[in-house]
Amino acid sequence: MTQKSIEVIVQPDGSLKIEAFGFVGADCEKATAFLEKALGAPCARRRKSEYYRVGIVRKTQGVRG
């Protein structure tokens, strides 16, 4: 079983990426939701939605339809 972990990469301009590993399906969204809510848009320039790269969520989207 993959160890569950979350990676947050905060770039020098303040923008960030959040990625979850080892979570299954909706657990992944739940795992990172608190960070997305807390960090929202820490940068003055709003990021495009595709800037967030939440790996496992994207991978399981097909399964959930």
Partner: protein
């Protein structure tokens, strides 16, 4: 002509901002005046005092976020906190994300990447760390 530029940010946690300032070695003082070009000042609920001639005023907005206001003239502020407060916002994000993760029971490790980004790795099941120390989940 005013040299103060207003930029809307999404800083919502003053404690995380204080941590970011502490790491950068910048004092943040409540109820002060930020210095600007030509001896102009801008009142701040908090003021981040820079080493250069100008400061950053921090004021809470109606929507609960904090707004940063400074004077970008001649690059003094940019040199200390980055373009558009980038470095300050980076460390704010690092401290905010770390604090939220620890609150959830994650262990957080921090690494600086070659491109200047900061990577936070959060491991451990949420709640486990709290349970071990006899704490309660929110």
């Amino acid at each position: 002509m005013s040299h103060f530029t207003t930029i809307e940010t999404q800083i919502r946690d003053i404690e995380a901002l204080k941590s970011a300032c502490a790491e950068m070695g910048l004092p943040i003082v409540p109820n002060a005046q930020a210095r600007g070009y030509g001896r102009k000042t801008h009142k701040g609920e908090y003021v981040i005092t820079l080493k250069g001639p100008y400061d950053i005023a921090v004021n809470r907005q109606a929507n609960g976020t904090f707004q940063l206001v400074t004077d970008w003239w001649d690059g003094h502020v940019e040199k200390e906190v980055g373009k558009n407060f980038g470095r300050l916002l980076q460390l704010y994000g690092v401290h905010k994300a770390s604090a939220e993760a620890r609150r959830k029971g994650y262990m957080v490790s921090r690494h600086v990447l070659n491109n200047g980004s900061i990577k936070l790795t959060m491991t451990g099941l949420p709640g486990v760390a709290l349970a071990k120390t006899g704490g309660t989940l929110p």
